[in-house]
């Protein structure tokens, strides 16, 4: 990785009339990084991507690509290319002309453009399909054409707007690996927009979680999952139980019903927080066997999911979800069993709003 970030965003804001789509975000994307922007629809991730591409001008702020300010340049003057959602392949051109388009617009002569386009088509394993029209190809093939069309221009950064959204599950999983592999080989940054947290966790070096135009957390998949910065991130990434409460001291939180549980936090006493407990980190034990930090409840439903059982445990004031791996010989619990839910102090995170 070089010292200059591939993309450097400082205080970027985008307003559409009265709506703030992106609210003063700062972000740095290193060269050679697989970077995901993750969030629910309307969170501003696509707008941010479009601003990097030049399809949208920021209202305010600085946007640099390899140190050069580009925030006010039109798209055709930026060294980045985009793989569009649903690909935006030119329907009136064949595959070869689609892939050669950028080169031709850049003034590359026809012979060279065609040769390089063919090479790129070979790289995405579509050789022999040069003369097909996009409409004559499957979704997966179109996806590869879109990739080739962007990559043939040797962009310094590749932008991908939900590139796998239109594919079915199996194909999507294959393409995830393939994209990751391609990125590693090319060594350039991929900036990837998705609303699928699993996809983001699988593919990315780092993830930026966004909501309501604000950047909530940037970190590795592990950091995001294990140490969510706030309640929204905790809730959005994976499934989780959020138990509202107040900080008592550095290792205790008092829950809404008055139960004190062990949870480490650095917030001052009295802060309103939520204890974030992942279902697979919680355990159910038979009620009354003397475990220290347990919360008493009753098993409500039992769902068999193959490698595990998921219990919902009814507490006095809320429901908890607990996931228990299936082990040979373990006796499954049944609906109505009185239980106690426990966890290790290190297994939970304390988050604020």
């Amino acid at each position: 990785m070089t010292a200059t970030p591939a993309v450097e965003i400082r205080g970027i804001t985008k307003r559409f009339d009265d709506v703030v789509a992106v609210d003063a975000i700062d972000m740095q994307i290193a060269n050679g990084e697989f970077f995901a922007m993750l969030g629910p629809s309307g969170c501003g991730k696509t707008t941010t991507l479009r601003m990097i591409a030049g399809l949208e001008f920021p209202t305010e702020g600085s946007l640099k690509i390899f140190g050069d300010e580009v925030g006010t340049l039109p798209p055709h003057k930026r060294p980045v290319n985009t793989v569009f959602q649903s690909y935006a392949l030119f329907p009136h051109m064949n595959v070869l002309d689609n892939v050669a388009f950028g080169l031709r617009m850049n003034g590359v002569d026809r012979t060279t453009a065609r040769r390089r386009a063919s090479e790129m088509i070979a790289l995405v394993r579509l050789s022999g399909m040069e003369n097909r029209r996009p409409a004559q190809m499957s979704g997966g093939q179109q996806q590869r054409v879109a990739l080739a069309r962007a990559l043939v221009n040797e962009p310094k950064v590749l932008l991908l707007d939900e590139p796998l959204g239109a594919l079915d599950l199996k194909l999507r999983q294959d393409m995830q690996l393939e994209l990751k592999e391609l990125q590693r080989r090319l060594g350039i940054s991929f900036v990837f927009v998705t609303h699928d947290q699993e996809e983001a966790l699988t593919m990315s070096d780092r993830i930026a979680v966004m909501n309501d135009g604000r950047l909530l957390q940037v970190g590795t998949p592990e950091e995001i999952y294990e140490r969510p910065a706030n309640r929204f991130v905790a809730d959005f990434i994976g499934t989780t139980n959020l138990l509202d409460g107040t900080v008592v001291d550095g290792s205790t939180v008092c829950l809404a019903n008055g139960t004190r549980v062990a949870a480490r936090s650095e917030h001052p006493a009295g802060t309103m927080v939520a204890v974030c407990l992942r279902p697979e980190r919680a355990r159910v034990v038979t009620a009354g066997d003397g475990t220290e930090s347990g919360i008493g409840g009753v098993i409500d439903t039992v769902t068999y999911v193959g490698n595990a059982r998921v219990y919902t445990v009814r507490l006095d004031w809320m429901q908890l979800r607990v996931r228990e791996e299936n082990r040979p010989g373990a006796a499954p619990r049944e609906s109505g069993d009185p239980v106690s839910v426990t966890w290790d102090m290190n297994a939970v995170t304390v988050v604020t709003e």
Binding site: G61, L63, T72, L73
Partner: protein, 306 residues
């Protein structure tokens, strides 16, 4: 396109590359707006000169005074021409035209609805063939279509020969109100069929099945499900037939022989032999107001397939 490019395309080049500011964003938006205006401008200017201006002149004339020689005096503004709308002879013309237009619209609706419905239930191939068959008269020269009826209805002509042969006696429909209505229905029936077809075709078939599942019989399903859902088409088609029928000029002339004075020819007379421009203008304004009201109603319905 190229003009606007030359005029605004270099805006990109001029600004220095710097951090984005609200001022830059606004400038970019203004540049885009300017490009749009430049592209619209030729047609805009053209329509202002050759449509809006003539339109305005007619409206202005409706308030002017007719001089003794049949010219226009632009000094005395008044509502005299509009007051004349109350005269018996004028009211007769207006009511007659209105009645004919409404009758035409109703007949078109009654003929077109079963036809359009049938189009939605036949096979795709048959449906496409039917669409083309409806389109052909729709695109055929208007004058030819009316003239064909003139020929068909002429006294001693083909229709008369047929009715005589089957023992119904001679028919002499030409230059009657009936002939005008036939001509108008013939001219504007496709305007009714196409929007009706479009709106019936859009109805989700599972709604009809749901209605049947909920114990409605065929007639009930039609009355309570199909008909209400096809109302946009009914309204669109009715307006598309009503407006041109009200202003019809060629059909009443060819098939009515100008015997019954209708609004269209009445207006033309004011600008021709009668040389009463202000009165003709006020009649035109009345026609335009009816037309605009109907169109606004149409757009309120969310229709767009004019």
């Amino acid at each position: 396109m190229s003009v606007s490019e030359i005029a605004t395309g270099d805006a990109d080049e001029q600004h220095t590359v710097a951090a984005a500011t609200p001022a830059f964003e606004a400038a970019a938006a203004r540049a885009a707006a300017r490009r749009g205006l430049f592209m619209a401008l030729p047609a805009y200017v053209y329509l202002v000169i050759f449509f809006a201006a003539p339109f305005a002149i007619v409206v202005i004339y409706s308030f002017a005074t007719r001089t003794r020689t049949g010219g226009i005096s632009l000094s005395g503004w008044n509502l005299d021409s509009y007051q004349r709308l109350g005269e018996q002879i004028v009211r007769d013309v207006l009511w007659r035209s209105l009645g004919l237009a409404i009758l035409t619209t109703l007949i078109c609706l009654l003929v077109a609805y079963p036809f359009a419905y049938y189009m939605t239930i036949v096979s795709t191939t048959a449906r496409n063939v039917m669409l083309v068959m409806v389109m052909i008269p729709f695109w055929t020269n208007f004058l030819v279509r009316n003239y064909a009826w003139r020929l068909l209805l002429s006294s001693g002509g083909p229709l008369s020969s047929v009715t005589e042969a089957i023992g119904l006696g001679e028919t002499d429909l030409l230059f009657t109100k009936t002939a005008v209505v036939i001509g108008l229905v013939y001219s504007f029936l496709p305007f009714m069929i196409l929007p009706l077809y479009a709106s019936i075709e859009r109805i989700d078939h599972s709604l009809i099945e749901a209605s049947r599942d909920l114990y409605a019989n065929g007639a009930q399903t039609f009355r309570r499900v199909v008909l209400p859902l096809s109302m946009p088409g009914v309204i669109a088609g009715s307006i598309l037939v009503f407006v041109p029928s009200l202003g019809a000029y060629v059909t009443p002339d060819i098939l009515g022989g100008g015997k019954e004075v209708l609004l269209g020819s009445y207006i033309v007379t004011q600008f021709g032999t009668a040389r009463n421009f202000p009165f003709g203008a006020s009649l035109s304004v009345v026609l335009m107001v009816v037309m605009l009201t109907a169109t606004v109603a149409y757009f309120r319905q969310g229709g767009r397939n004019l």
